[in-house]
Symmetry: C2
Subunit: 440 residues, 2 copies
Amino acid sequence: MNAVGKMLIGLHLGNGYGSQSGAWRMPGVDPKSYTSFDIRVKQAQAAERGKFQFIFLPDGPGAVMTDIETESPVFNLDVMMTLAAVARETQYIGLVATGSTTFNEPFNLARQFKALDIMSHGRAGWNAITSSGEDVAANYGKRIPSSQDRYGRAHEAVQLIQSLWGSWGKDAWIHNQNSGQFAKKDQILPINLQGKYVGSRGPLYIPPSEQGQPIIFHAGGSPNAHQLAGRFANVVIGTAFTIEDARAQRNAFRAAAKSYGRDPDEIKYIAGLMTTIAKDRRTALDRRIQLGGSSLIQKFEYLQKMLGIPLDLSLINEPILELQLENARPSHYPRSSNALKIARQGWSVLDILAHGVIDYHPVIAGPGVEVADHMQAWYEAGAADGFWISPDVNSDGIDAFVDHVVPLLQERGLFHKEYESKTLRGHLGVPDQYGIDPRV
Amino acid sequence: MNAVGKMLIGLHLGNGYGSQSGAWRMPGVDPKSYTSFDIRVKQAQAAERGKFQFIFLPDGPGAVMTDIETESPVFNLDVMMTLAAVARETQYIGLVATGSTTFNEPFNLARQFKALDIMSHGRAGWNAITSSGEDVAANYGKRIPSSQDRYGRAHEAVQLIQSLWGSWGKDAWIHNQNSGQFAKKDQILPINLQGKYVGSRGPLYIPPSEQGQPIIFHAGGSPNAHQLAGRFANVVIGTAFTIEDARAQRNAFRAAAKSYGRDPDEIKYIAGLMTTIAKDRRTALDRRIQLGGSSLIQKFEYLQKMLGIPLDLSLINEPILELQLENARPSHYPRSSNALKIARQGWSVLDILAHGVIDYHPVIAGPGVEVADHMQAWYEAGAADGFWISPDVNSDGIDAFVDHVVPLLQERGLFHKEYESKTLRGHLGVPDQYGIDPRV
């Protein structure tokens, strides 16, 4: 059983508040959510109620506190500890976290993700990325290696980790109390890999999980990312602002998979989507204005560049004049065309900004049906196999999605109504993996 | 409030079965305990019922599977994931795990132990050790560095990690939704440490816990261990087979603390103790014979060396003749004197071995009162501030200790009857730590 033929949905589980920087101040939000594992668990449970296939925890241990005076950090205290908490208090939802190959020892990554896989009874996934920020490197007292070295190490690390995960055969663990045989030693083999960057003798001392071993995610869009994901990943988290761009990205990853001799369908392209769900567009925009505070105004300059026209800050509550819009030339910034489209609908400059035209992913601010329509359009256009949802505020934004978007998608036959499986591989239609993949 | 004036007790939480290699085969033991987080949680809860101050998870990611055909691995799948599970399902007990400074990036250790400290509301401790086994190094594709380099790196790593833990001031985290102030930026400072071995800019993005930050444990007995523990540790887990040896070790650590300008009482020496608790000695020995199986016979050779006399394997069920014992010369092996004492009591050779005279720590096999007597004698002789208990089989051995030893110690006024605190520092009488320790 798998989820082929339906869209996949993941939840962004980050700092506990939500994806908008003002989320921590919103009514009904516990201001201590950043350190609350109870709240993370509750949010994951809300996503499980909505039959999300996975939660996905980004990470980047760098300068996540640029505006700590007024804004919360963007990531979890520690992604693995968060997933451990969630694993014990959910039953179905997949558990995926970022773990950088640049500043982690592969053996440690292998051990921790496999332990999570055991703990969650086969629901773990690893987002294998490289670290490119000098702020991250500084926390390790190092500099960022060259792109070639980062990806060279990443390829070795993923191969090594998958080998460690597979170092016990499927039936190696006997634990027969009568015969006294604990395991079949000849099915637990060292891996003896030594590359240019990393090495390990192994074996890892952890038997297979209910899905065999975790699956590989990747997040990124460069040619290097295509190669790494094309070789190893089953899921890619992408950043695309238009259907055309998403489709091109998806095709690039599928082509990369093919170039490694894989079936392109083995790699699922997941598009990011940020949501503000309310009874109507106006209410949603007002919510985002409350959320954004002065940070919306800070984006005013950038909006002018995106549209290619000068704007007057004193007229921020007025629509842009028709005359001006005729001169607008969407810049090369990938979000420009959407910004112009919104502007042409006659919204005020502040409302244009409140639409989230400058955010990390496409934003839908409005009733649930608009979110469902967006997802359907992208999915049916071959632009995405699914979506990674970042609610504006988690405390009510996850429930809003579950109550007002999920039922529409289910009615339209686009999203499953029940979990078909108890493992992440089952949710994604990826075969269980035991031993070492002969293709690697 | 603290625990000064009473002994401290910790539980060895390892592979899920217990400290004896045959534990996984015993009646009543779930043979899948190795991969069961449910069982670890239940065992920790049993220790909490007994008011243990902490659980302690050793780790050493090397060749933990030497006899995997018949024996379980000795350690947890992953100590941090185990403690995360336990943290969510206990309320008082301290949570301590080994994390090697040799093959971990300090920033990663800092983050994960501090996240555990937040998750457990101030109950985390870190056993800061170095890795000396080539089998461990091989899993990282490396060789073991020289002792000087290992301890050099360890000193830098602990200092760096404590600095990262203290990089938020006590009151830095405001999270005031009305004023919009999330944190006091001037109380969250980079650490900018760059040593010979490791470095980090910081700050860590995690505010203080209920105890400020985790405390440092150390396990080891070399002069290097004295220095590292004397400088940083609040608790040392020791290995000593006699009161005299334990007292000497304890004094050495206290002297080392003093040499770093600390009050010697800031460092607690915890002696290891392995238990087989049964209604009488005979029943306990029979249990250990069942547990030991052929591994007891394998120790026969070593027993001859310890006693300095030849023994006849065919007479293993007979006591050693008086005439022979007169010729016995306890070897330099530290466990020899106890082995000779047991031999002189007239036990058969197999029973001598079943007493655990060759095990990793002193063994008491018998009724609870004998365990309590041992602990009282060591404690009152100044040989230990407390004990790290390794039951033979966890499934019933923890409860046996809680039901048959703890009440005796409490009646004798040697052990607390209730938790005085909800933090590990509180349990150990160690002051909360905020910011960076000015003495370091």
